[in-house]
Symmetry: C2
Subunit: 220 residues, 2 copies
Amino acid sequence: MSAIKVVTSILKANDEINSLNKKMLDEKKIYVLNVMSSPGSGKTTILEKIISKLQADIKIAVIEGDPYTSIDAQRIEAKGVPVVQINTGGACHLDANMIKNAMDNLNLNEIELLIVENVGNLVCPAEFDVGEDIKVTVMSTTEGTYKPLKCPLAFEKSGLVILNKIDLVKYTNFDMDEFYKSVKSLNEKAIIFETSCTQDLGLAELCSWLKNKVREKRND
Amino acid sequence: MSAIKVVTSILKANDEINSLNKKMLDEKKIYVLNVMSSPGSGKTTILEKIISKLQADIKIAVIEGDPYTSIDAQRIEAKGVPVVQINTGGACHLDANMIKNAMDNLNLNEIELLIVENVGNLVCPAEFDVGEDIKVTVMSTTEGTYKPLKCPLAFEKSGLVILNKIDLVKYTNFDMDEFYKSVKSLNEKAIIFETSCTQDLGLAELCSWLKNKVREKRND
């Protein structure tokens, strides 16, 4: 099988476009999140909550990745922020070139925080930098304790980890200590927030942290 | 981007090896499941339950796909059935060639049911046939109602869909009618079982169905 070679050549091309994206986004002082997770971890709902809490203070735009549909993009658009949909046609991740094309459809002078919601997949997206300041991995307590060890790359590369559906933890056998230990073993510096969107837990803290990051970049 | 071309050439090579695998497995009258899901849907726990309920009557073996670890394979081995681990080195799916190599490590004369547990990923694995009789998609109620529409290929190609963690549905906003409607719109013939491994719901029905399938193939 020549699969490894193929991946290498795709990744090299991606790195070049990633650098171009990053240069442009840094010039415009736009803070960029690349949000990754398994399907169903609650990414889009977290974004809805972040937008509601921050849009009065910060100009936000969203790039939505999805294999085929625009269901998530419609939800984000309903919050009243600019959104560009990327349908990957079945591909399992976003790459830098897709984000470059999506950026052409946004007014970068009117954005302070750009959120890229990657395709729901905890394996492949972590390999592709798209121009982000920080990768964010969302996982829900219902996905099980060992997810970080089983999909290590996403956690290794994510400066921010959001443990979502914390309200459901009491109905599961999720081991909180083991989870923290696993994440820290992969990525000592990862910042971890625990959230529940149905119970509005941890979201104020998350948004406060995010607001500081956006301000730091603008004042850079 | 040349991504589409790359996928096409990989898929063609895969189809050829898939046919070879299928021929050998049909000759041996081994019924083969290719089990796909998001990470954390409960695939491995379902397999543990299936093995416990069927191993007195049916000779079972398992091929475990995982990006890096052997956590799941160890759980399956503890049930006392032959298991082969495939570590994909970060790749997001199993392909026919990996299964061919794994089959070399199994005594096919001593197997009636071969279960392939794919890498936890609801996007890419559906594109790769590995020699299976049936694809199985597992999703949990905590992943949200719209998963079938957002990851349609897995559901389109799966003869069997298992809706797991049915005991948690009462704590979520999961819409059961919408779920059934979505799955049926993608795949009219899909058989759907609802299961809970913690509450032992639906597993007897699932195992009874599976036992019939194994017997049908042996009597073919």
